[in-house]
């Protein structure tokens, strides 16, 4: 999927199992910025229901193993913070502009 700065992404998380094709949000151990990519592989254990998940950005050539920490081949359920379910384009620009140019934030907010 293609998303640009200013888009608002709606996320939802429930206990439904993670399945191939879903767009998930995850944090790599030790890194701050979450990644929003698609699940391309799922292996779910018989007994515990735990999953090994592999993700990939739609416009990337290869999968996300280069993004995972060294030696980590899969994501687990606890890495995943939500699923993307929809988005509003451009609406976030107001927040971005206000944060980058405080003078606009001052003009637009109430002052006594």
């Amino acid at each position: 999927m293609e998303s640009q700065g200013g888009d608002i992404l709606f996320l939802h998380m429930n206990q439904d199992p993670i399945r191939a094709g879903e767009i998930v949000v995850f944090n790599v151990d030790g890194k701050d910025i979450p990644i929003v990519h698609r699940v391309i592989e799922v292996h779910e254990r018989q007994d515990t229901g735990e999953v090994d998940v592999l993700t990939k950005g739609d416009n990337n050539h290869g999968d996300d193993r280069l993004l995972y920490p060294y030696g980590q081949l899969w994501l687990q359920k606890y890495h995943i913070m939500g699923r993307a379910v929809g988005f509003l384009p451009y609406v976030g620009w107001v927040t971005i502009i206000m944060n980058e140019k405080p003078v606009i934030k001052d003009a637009l907010t109430f002052h006594n």
């Binding site: 391309i40 292996h43 384009p89 609406v91 107001v94």
Partner: protein, 167 residues
């Protein structure tokens, strides 16, 4: 009360609210679309089927994928993401889903397609369970709207089987 700041604030808030309402209406209009997709996937050849040094089975296949997803497209559709995955069960794993191929359909004109390809992504098992394995092939589509709710569905095709022996 009538300062520039107050008025600018009121205008921007109103504009953003209208934008959000219009986006919601655009998204709701997608619910009136009744899609009628068709798809067919054939496995033309098993190119090779080996056990890797780490003990995991790997298969290379050539597929023929044809589909007509043009009924998915509405005026609120940005693109459709389509992928083909194998689904199978092993003693260790209740479900394995491995994507073979994916593509982005940018418009309705490209939505009726036919492609002959080897698997784009490697088909590697967790373990050595693939000899003689029965599997399903699923073709999934994920509709990305210009605005609003994404929706997804799939067609499941059954009856595929891997060879009994490595080759």
């Amino acid at each position: 009360m009538h300062s520039f700041g107050y008025r600018a604030n009121a205008v921007v808030t109103f504009a953003v609210t209208i934008l959000a309402v219009m986006c919601s209406l655009a998204s709701l209009s997608d619910n009136f679309n009744v899609p009628t997709p068709t798809a067919d996937v054939k496995v033309l050849n098993i190119n090779w089927f080996q056990k890797q040094p780490n003990g995991n089975d790997e298969v290379s296949l050539t597929l023929n994928i044809s589909a007509d997803l043009s009924s998915m497209f509405t005026w609120n559709t940005k693109q459709v993401f389509v992928f083909v995955a194998a689904e199978y069960e092993t003693p260790q794993n209740a479900l394995n889903q491995v994507s073979f191929w994916d593509g982005i359909i940018p418009s309705k004109e490209h939505a009726k397609f036919w492609i002959h390809t080897t698997n784009k992504y490697r088909f590697i098992d967790q373990g050595s369970n693939l000899r003689g394995k029965d599997f399903n092939l699923t073709l999934h589509w994920h509709v990305m709207p210009k605005t609003g709710k994404m929706f997804a569905d799939k067609i499941v095709m059954t009856g595929y089987r891997l060879p009994e022996e490595y080759r």
